[in-house]
């Protein structure tokens, strides 16, 4: 019964016999329990449950646009609820972070909080320190001053082993994908599992196939990175980021350099991934104002500091001239580009 279903943000996937997306569809009355059972089969495993949406589409019980619209509407509802009650425990916290690169102060006392289980977008002008901020979250860069805290653990105080252990809770999608050129897509996705787990090869293969299906690259596993388009590359990198079931997913410009249709499809994929797994997601994007529709929380970086941070709906309505200029893309305003 829908009323007996656990909360959508429940961290245990086993609590969702029909997958999180299946539960949402059931709660909304879009499908019946018997239809979900028909789509999933008798004893679906966790991987199959995570593909419930695709399976319903395959069975003709939903169309792909209906599914995408449903998921987007779910995210919109959540974003509105977050705006009304923006209380969420921070999972990552920066305190007075400073970083200089090539003699230029990139971060100048950054204080920010990333809410747990939400999609946070970091916005700012190019070269404004967004990627540097992201790299500090996972300890790829060390600050000159200030500290980064993940779940109460200060990164700078961790021994290399502890830092590596903490990193297993993260995954990161890099701007260029950072797929390994010498491995095909399937091996790229399998790489973290082969290196960091003791899973059997058949289990790894199954998980890789599921992840590739989730990003609509089910039949592309044999291709090498140089044979992929920009959009496919990002999707393959997203599959690699998801394969380890991280708690925190960092996405560095997942839509940079893509046409508007692929960009929209990647945003849908991010929304879909979020609703399926409830990762804490932090993404950098220049897709303004589009990104405000896909994130709960927005942080605006300007001149090495956090200019504003809060629910995306509030930031979109901000009167701050820098944010207004950024939203409108106007050449006139406090941000001087020429």
């Amino acid at each position: 019964m829908p009323s007996q279903q656990p909360s959508a943000t429940d961290s245990n996937p086993a609590s969702f016999p029909y997958g999180r997306v299946g539960t949402l569809l059931l709660d909304a009355g879009r499908v019946t329990e018997s239809q979900i059972r028909e789509a999933l089969g008798e004893t679906p495993d966790e991987d199959e449950r995570s593909l419930v949406g695709e399976k319903l589409v395959q069975c003709g019980l939903l169309t792909q646009p209906e599914l995408l619209k449903f998921l987007f509407d779910q995210l919109t509802k959540e974003r509105e609820a977050y705006q009304k009650n923006p209380i969420s425990e921070p999972v990552i916290r920066f305190r007075g972070l400073e970083k200089t690169l090539d003699g230029r102060k990139i971060l100048d006392g950054v204080d920010l909080e990333i809410p747990l289980g939400k999609i946070t977008a970091i916005l700012g002008v190019s070269g404004g320190g967004k990627t540097v901020t992201l790299k500090h979250m996972i300890g790829l860069m060390k600050p000159e001053a200030g500290e980064v805290e993940v779940d109460g653990q200060v990164l700078g105080s961790l021994a290399p082993k502890e830092l590596n252990k903490l990193r297993t809770r993260f995954s990161m999608l890099f701007q260029g994908g950072a797929l390994f050129d010498s491995l095909n897509v399937a091996d790229n996705v399998a790489f973290p599992l082969r290196e960091k787990t003791k899973l059997k090869e058949d289990v790894i293969q199954r998980r890789v196939n599921t992840c590739l299906k989730q990003v609509n690259l089910g039949k592309m596993g044999f291709k090498f990175p140089d044979e992929l388009s920009g959009g496919m590359m990002k999707r393959a990198a997203l599959a690699r980021a998801m394969v380890t079931n991280p708690e925190i997913l960092l996405l560095d410009e997942p839509t940079a350099g893509l046409d508007p249709i692929i960009e929209r499809s990647i945003h849908h994929l991010i929304c879909d991934t979020y609703l399926r797994f409830r990762y804490t997601m932090v993404l950098i994007s220049h897709s303004v104002p589009e990104i405000f529709r896909w994130s709960h929380h927005v942080v605006v970086l300007h001149q090495g500091k956090v200019l504003e941070a809060g629910p995306s709906i509030d930031i979109a309505n901000s009167d701050n001239p820098v944010i207004r200029q950024f939203l409108t893309g106007s050449l006139e305003g406090p941000i001087k580009v020429i």
Binding site: K135, N164, R167, S171, F174, A178, F191, P192, E195, K196
Partner: protein, 235 residues
Amino acid sequence: MFIFLVSTIIHIFKPPFRPYNLLKQIHFIGIRSLFVIVLTAAFAGMVLGLQGYYTLSRFGSEGLLGPAVALSIIRELGPVLSALMVTGRAGSALTAELGIMRIREQMDALETMGIHPLKSLLAPRVEAGLIVLPLLNVIFDVIGIFGGYLVAVHLLGLSSGTYFGGIENAVEVKDIQVGLIKSLCFGMLITWVCTYKGYFTQRGAEGVSQATTSAVVTSSVLVLVFDYFITSVML
């Protein structure tokens, strides 16, 4: 740079051990350098045969041609030339590959997965260099001596008994040890310099080209400098 080497060597002995990665690097550095090593060795031996015969015949000492060719190759030319060939063929490729991985954030990707690039990328390359260079050196020595034999016996008319008999009498185990120690040192030197330059590549394609050039030049010069010092110590 020294700390980098020490860290890499420590990672060689740290689990998990991935024999496949090591074999892949042995194939890349060793097997794929084989053709150029054989070719270089054959011609180096043939030139030594010609020059040696020309010089020794002035003093009526053609009978010493075999030992002259063998000792030159085993003690000097074998380790040095095989090291220089590996630097040019595999060292430059190592630097370029690692440099591209660095600028394309593939090394950062490894770190985010909790995998240290020193362990997964650099340690197998240094280890492969240590294994492969002495083996290539032995192959160089054998082919080089046969190159000298071809010229001395089949072109210049020296008897094969004189050529090989002289070698048997003149070459000692110590000479072979010197050659092997040199090639072991050069193996470490080349992979150390080339992986270091690749690992710390910066600034895009230009950075990769600078790192590659610098790696080849530095390795080649260091091979010759170290050759002098090792020779002077082991004479």
